[in-house]
Amino acid sequence: MKGIVKSLAVTMSTFMRRPVTRNYPTVHRELPERDRAFPLLLWDQDIDEPFCTGCHACERACPVECMTVLMKDNPAHESQGGTSKRRKIVDEFWIDYGRCMRCNICVEVCNFEAIAMNNTWRGHEMSVYDRSDLVMDLPQLMMQSKANEIHEWVAD
C-alpha cells in the first residue's frame, strides 16, 4: 500500500501547483525570434519594391518543389529611369503552403535575402476551407512585409 500512498502524494503535490495551461486563443504566447512558419517575401521599404529578383535559386533548392517563379525586366531600373539597381524583378511567385515542409533551405540559398520565414502568429494560423486556398500568390506573400509587420530572422 505504501506505493499507492506515494502516488497519491505525488498527485496531491501537483494539485497544489499552478496550472500550466495557456488559454489559447485568448492568450497567444510570444514566439521566439527564430520561429519558422511558412516563407514570405520581403519588401524593400526604401525603394518600394520587392527584394526578390526571380532568380529561381530557391525554386531549384526546394525539396518538395512547392514554388513557381517568373521574372521580368524591372521597369524601375536605372536604365529605364528609375532608382533601383535590380535589373530583373519578380513577376509572379506562387508557393504552395500545403506542400512546403518549412525546412528553411530557400532562405539559406537566397542571394538577395529576399525570402524569410514568417515568425509571427499569422504564419501559424492558416486554416482554410479549400486546399487550393493554400497556394499563395505574390501579393499575399508580400502583404505582411509591406505592412512592416515582420521582423525577420535570417541566419548568418
Binding site: S7, R34, R36, A61
Partner: protein
C-alpha cells in the same frame, strides 16, 4: 463400468481486431489477436499505414534537402535521426566536424532522448490505466523541451538543424542558461513519474513478469535499445562504438533483470537520469568556435561508388543509415535501419500466453513510433 469418452468441447478462438485507430495513441498500427477466453494465442501485426516512401524520396534530394525527410522518419527523436544521416554523409565526404558542433549535437541528441522518453511515459501511463495524469505530466515536460528547440532551430518537432559538416546556424547566445533551466524542470518531471508509478503496487502487479523476453531471444530477433537492455544485454552503441564525444563523458548504462514490462519502463527512467548527467558534462565542456568546417563546398558532392553504414543510439534503439553514393550530390540508395521495426518483431513472442489486457501494455512498452516502422 465402462463409460464413453466425453467428446472434446470444440470452441472457436475469437479474433479481435485492435484496429488502426487506437485509444492508446501509438500511431496507426493494426493488431489482429486470436484469443481463447482471455489468453492470447496469436498476434498478427499489420503495418504500412504510415509508409510515405522516405527512402525513395531521398534519392531525388541532395544532402541538404534530405535532412528534412530524415527527421520525419522519427519525429519524436528527430535530432538522432538527422544525426545518423549527417554522420553517414560526413563519413563518405571525409569532413572534419568542429568540436563545438559535436558538443552541441550531443546536447541536442540527449535532450531529444529526454523528450522521447517523456512521450513514452505519457502513452504508457494511458495504457496502464491511470486516467490521464502521466500523459499530462509528459506533455508539460515536453513543452519546456520543445520550447527550447524552437528557440534554437525554429521548429518544434521537425528541426532540420543538422547539416553535413556541422550545424545549420549558431545557437542563440543564452543557450547554456536555457538548457540548465530546462534540465531543472525535467528533473522535477522525472521525479514526478518515479513517485507516481515506480513503487505503486498496482502498477507493479500489472507490469512485473508480464511480456518477458529472454536475452537470447532478444538478440536473435534483433532488438536494440532500452528494450534489449531491459533483458540484461549490455549493448549500448554509445559505449561500444562511441561517436560524437561519448567516450569523453561519464555515464552508466542501466540494465534490467527480467526483460518484462516493468524493466523496460524502469530502464528508460534510469536512462533519463543518465542523459541529464551527460548534458551537464557537455555544458561544462562546451567552448566557442566554428560550427562548420572552414572549406565547405557550396554543393556537397560525394565520390562515386562508396557506401557506409552508420549506427547511432536513438532513444528507441539502433537507428542506422546505409548510404550508397553514385558521384554527384544525390545518393544512389539510402536505407534506414529502423529500430522500432526490429523491436516490433518481438511482439508476438512476448504476447502469446498473456492476457488480452496485458497485450496492450506490452505493445506500449516496446515504445514504437509508427513513422519509423513504416518510413
Amino acid at each position: 463400468m465402462v463409460t464413453e469418452p466425453v467428446p472434446e468441447f470444440e470452441t472457436q478462438d475469437l479474433l479481435i481486431n485492435v484496429g488502426p485507430q487506437h485509444p492508446s495513441t501509438h500511431g496507426v498500427f493494426r493488431m489482429v489477436m486470436e484469443i481463447d477466453g482471455e489468453v492470447v494465442k496469436d498476434v498478427i501485426p499489420h503495418i504500412g499505414y504510415l509508409h510515405r516512401g522516405a527512402e525513395k524520396l531521398c534519392e531525388n534530394n541532395d544532402f541538404r534537402q534530405g535532412v528534412g525527410y530524415m527527421d520525419r522518419t522519427e519525429y519524436l527523436a528527430a535530432h538522432n535521426a538527422e544525426l545518423s544521416y549527417v554522420m553517414a554523409v560526413e563519413a563518405l565526404a571525409e569532413l572534419e566536424v568542429p568540436a563545438r558542433a559535436q558538443w552541441i549535437r550531443m546536447i541536442l541528441c540527449e535532450l531529444n532522448r529526454l523528450s522521447s522518453h517523456f512521450m513514452f511515459f505519457g502513452a504508457f501511463g494511458v495504457d496502464v490505466g491511470v486516467f490521464g495524469t502521466p500523459f499530462v505530466y509528459a506533455w508539460r515536460e515536453r513543452e519546456t523541451l520543445i520550447d527550447l528547440f524552437e528557440e534554437i532551430s525554429g521548429d518544434r518537432m521537425m528541426y532540420a538543424y543538422f547539416r553535413a559538416g556541422g550545424l545549420a546556424w549558431e545557437v542563440p547566445p543564452n543557450f547554456k542558461e536555457r538548457v540548465r533551466e530546462v534540465l531543472k524542470s525535467s528533473r522535477q518531471g522525472v521525479k514526478d513519474f518515479d513517485g507516481l508509478l515506480t513503487e505503486n503496487e498496482i502498477f507493479i502487479a500489472r507490469t512485473k513478469n508480464v511480456g518477458i523476453i529472454s536475452a537470447e531471444d532478444a538478440i536473435e530477433i534483433g532488438m536494440s535499445g532500452p528494450s534489449l537492455r531491459a533483458s540484461g544485454v549490455p549493448l549500448d552503441i554509445r559505449k561500444t562504438e562511441p561517436y560524437l564525444f561519448y567516450d569523453q563523458v561519464e555515464f552508466d548504462v542501466p540494465l534490467g533483470e527480467n526483460g518484462d514490462v516493468f524493466d523496460r519502463y524502469y530502464v528508460r527512467l534510469q536512462e533519463m537520469e543518465q542523459s541529464m548527467r551527460i548534458i551537464e558534462q557537455c555544458l561544462d565542456r562546451l567552448e566557442d568556435g566554428p560550427i562548420m568546417p572552414e572549406r565547405m563546398p557550396r554543393m556537397l558532392r560525394l565520390p562515386e561508388g562508396q557506401e557506409v553504414y552508420i549506427r547511432t543510439e536513438a532513444p528507441r534503439g539502433e537507428y542506422g543509415v546505409y548510404l550508397v553514393s553514385k558521384g554527384g550530390n544525390k545518393p544512389w540508395r539510402l536505407k534506414v535501419r529502423s529500430a522500432c521495426l526490429s523491436n516490433l518483431q518481438a511482439l508476438k513472442q512476448m504476447s502469446v500466453g498473456q492476457y488480452v489486457a496485458d497485450a496492450i501494455i506490452i505493445l506500449g512498452s516496446i515504445d514504437i513510433v509508427l513513422s519509423e516502422v513504416d518510413r
